[in-house]
């Protein structure tokens, strides 16, 4: 047994993804309808923005195109996280049905297995909406796309995906204690997605403080955005999104705490 080589975690995760995608493809019509549905959920938010800016030409000094850019990048961050970390999002059923017991007896990391339990490809619909908006806003927002700015966008995507995955992880960890997913956590996921279409300072100083130090949305949204649109030249703002990845540390700690306190619900 000793010399059996362990597949790397990443390879194993890819296998999980493959299985999930193939099983989703068994119901093709349902899949495409869901993708279309996801697309329209975000499209209606876009339409709302479009109509608002027909009437108002800027909000807190941000133009329509700048808000679109913010909306698109934030939505991309969210949809990648939702696609990848969906296992955490629907974790409550795993605890309730007791299938988390199976996870615990297998000789692999439980986070990997939970991540692998679901890969929600239908969120590609949301992603598509985000990409289309991004492509539309890209040439119109008046940004000169230099190398540091492109890197900033990539950092934002990395940081944002990590941040939202962390939030999903915390959401899942609560299930160890409550069995049910807690609805108020929606404020931090769906709520953030919905209201994060505007740069965070639109919501005032207190929200910005909250979004910087408690749940660091501003690190992947407001600060790098100000750098992108040239409100600041401070290059440290470029690196702030990477700081948001640190959010995974308390999230993981809370998860470990939850796992240690897990007692099977049986059945």
């Amino acid at each position: 047994m000793e010399n059996v080589k362990k597949t790397s975690a990443f390879r194993l995760w890819l296998r999980y993804v493959g299985i999930n995608v193939r099983s989703a493809m068994q119901y093709k019509t349902s899949f495409f309808l869901m993708v279309l549905g996801q697309f329209f959920v975000s499209f209606s938010v876009f339409l709302g923005l479009y109509f608002m800016f027909q009437r108002f030409h800027n909000v807190k000094g941000y133009t329509y195109q700048e808000v679109l850019l913010c909306f698109a990048i934030f939505l991309m961050e969210f949809s990648i996280a939702e696609m990848v970390a969906r296992g955490f999002d629907s974790f409550s059923s795993m605890v309730r049905t007791g299938s988390f017991d199976q996870v615990l007896v297998r000789p692999r990391n439980e986070v990997l297995q939970v991540l692998g339990s679901k890969f929600e490809l239908t969120r590609i619909g949301r992603m598509l909406q985000a990409i289309l908006t991004f492509v539309y806003a890209l040439p119109r927002c008046g940004i000169e796309w230099t190398f540091p700015k492109i890197v900033t966008v990539i950092f934002m995507l990395m940081g944002g995906t990590a941040l939202f995955s962390g939030i999903f992880m915390i959401y899942a960890s609560f299930c160890f204690f409550t069995l049910e997913g807690l609805e108020f956590m929606n404020v931090f996921t769906d709520g953030a997605r919905e209201h994060g279409k505007y740069p965070l300072d639109v919501y005032g100083k207190k929200m910005l403080f909250f979004g910087t130090f408690l749940v660091p949305y501003a690190l992947v949204q407001y600060y790098p955005l100000t750098y992108l649109i040239g409100r600041t030249d401070n290059p440290t703002y470029m690196l702030l999104p990477l700081l948001a990845i640190l959010f995974l540390i308390p999230a993981y700690a809370f998860w470990r705490f939850g796992v240690r306190h897990y007692c099977s619900s049986g059945s």
Binding site: T29, L33, G37, F56, K60
Partner: protein, 273 residues
């Protein structure tokens, strides 16, 4: 005599569901927090827009604030994306057969059930949100309606709006008889309807041409009608038209829905057992 018995049947079904719905207090508490945060963020965003260009605001800021709070408080009454999972399950898994055996009309029973669920959810959620909305500091505080008459019209319109939303959902249930896979159809319709109902931005904020059309659609008769009557900013003539439209759409949607259900009942094909 026969008539009263049949009505009593649905009435007791309604009561049963209503009381059952009142049991989910923890879920309601969580929902209230979410809706409160949601409403607050919406209002701050609106105030940011107001600062940038007050002249472009289609209704007074005060009215917008009341609109948002009422929307959050009564969300359960007229949102169309929160449909009854049980009804979809019953259609998909074939337990519909049991429902068909009962000496009741499916359409009436499901309407009684949906209304009961909506009212029980709203009953648990609305008062805490409204209390807070009346207590928060001034620019964000909700206003009382200008006259008692406006308030009564608001209540009437609220009930009509709830009925229109429920009747619309019944049509979607009816359609699932023919499609089986409800999930996709649901999300597809839900986001579109939510937008047309004024769930994303209030209908007055839409461009005038779009607004003129959207206001005639049945979706505007759900939340848009009561929330705008409440603030008293609609002229008496407009209120009449709004209420008239609500009546019209209620009747039309009920006719379509019950026709569809009747057709579905006849053609229903029970999937497995």
């Amino acid at each position: 005599m026969k008539r009263t018995i049949s009505l009593r049947k649905y009435h007791s079904f309604f009561r049963l569901r209503f009381i059952q719905g009142l049991q989910y207090r923890a879920a309601a508490a969580a929902g209230i927090t979410t809706q409160f945060a949601w409403g607050f963020l919406l209002i701050i965003a609106f105030s940011a827009f107001y600062e940038s260009d007050p002249a472009a605001f289609p209704m007074s800021f005060q009215d917008t604030v009341s609109y948002v709070w009422l929307q959050q408080a009564f969300l359960a009454l007229f949102n169309t994306w929160m449909m009854e999972g049980e009804i979809f399950d019953v259609i998909a898994n074939g337990n519909l057969a049991y429902e068909l055996c009962r000496p009741i009309r499916i359409y009436n029973m499901w309407i009684a059930r949906s209304l009961a669920n909506r009212f029980s959810r709203a009953a648990l959620r609305c008062s805490p949100i409204l209390i807070v909305a009346f207590l928060v500091p001034k620019p964000y505080r909700m206003m009382v309606p200008p006259t008692l008459g406006t308030f009564l019209l608001f209540i009437l319109s609220l009930l009509l709006g709830t009925a229109v939303a429920t009747a619309f959902c019944m049509i979607v249930y009816g359609l699932t008889f023919f499609t089986i896979s409800p999930q996709g159809v649901r999300t597809l319709f839900a986001s579109l309807v939510d937008f047309l109902a004024g769930g994303i931005i209030p209908i007055p904020f839409m461009p005038d041409k779009v607004r003129a059309i959207v206001e005639l659609l049945p979706f505007a008769s759900m939340q848009n009608a009561p929330l705008r009557i409440y603030t008293g900013s609609l002229a008496a003539e407009e209120v009449k038209v709004t209420l008239g439209l609500q009546f019209f759409w209620l009747i039309a949607l009920v006719l379509i829905g019950s026709g569809l259900c009747r057709l579905a009942e006849r053609k229903a094909c029970i999937q497995g057992g």
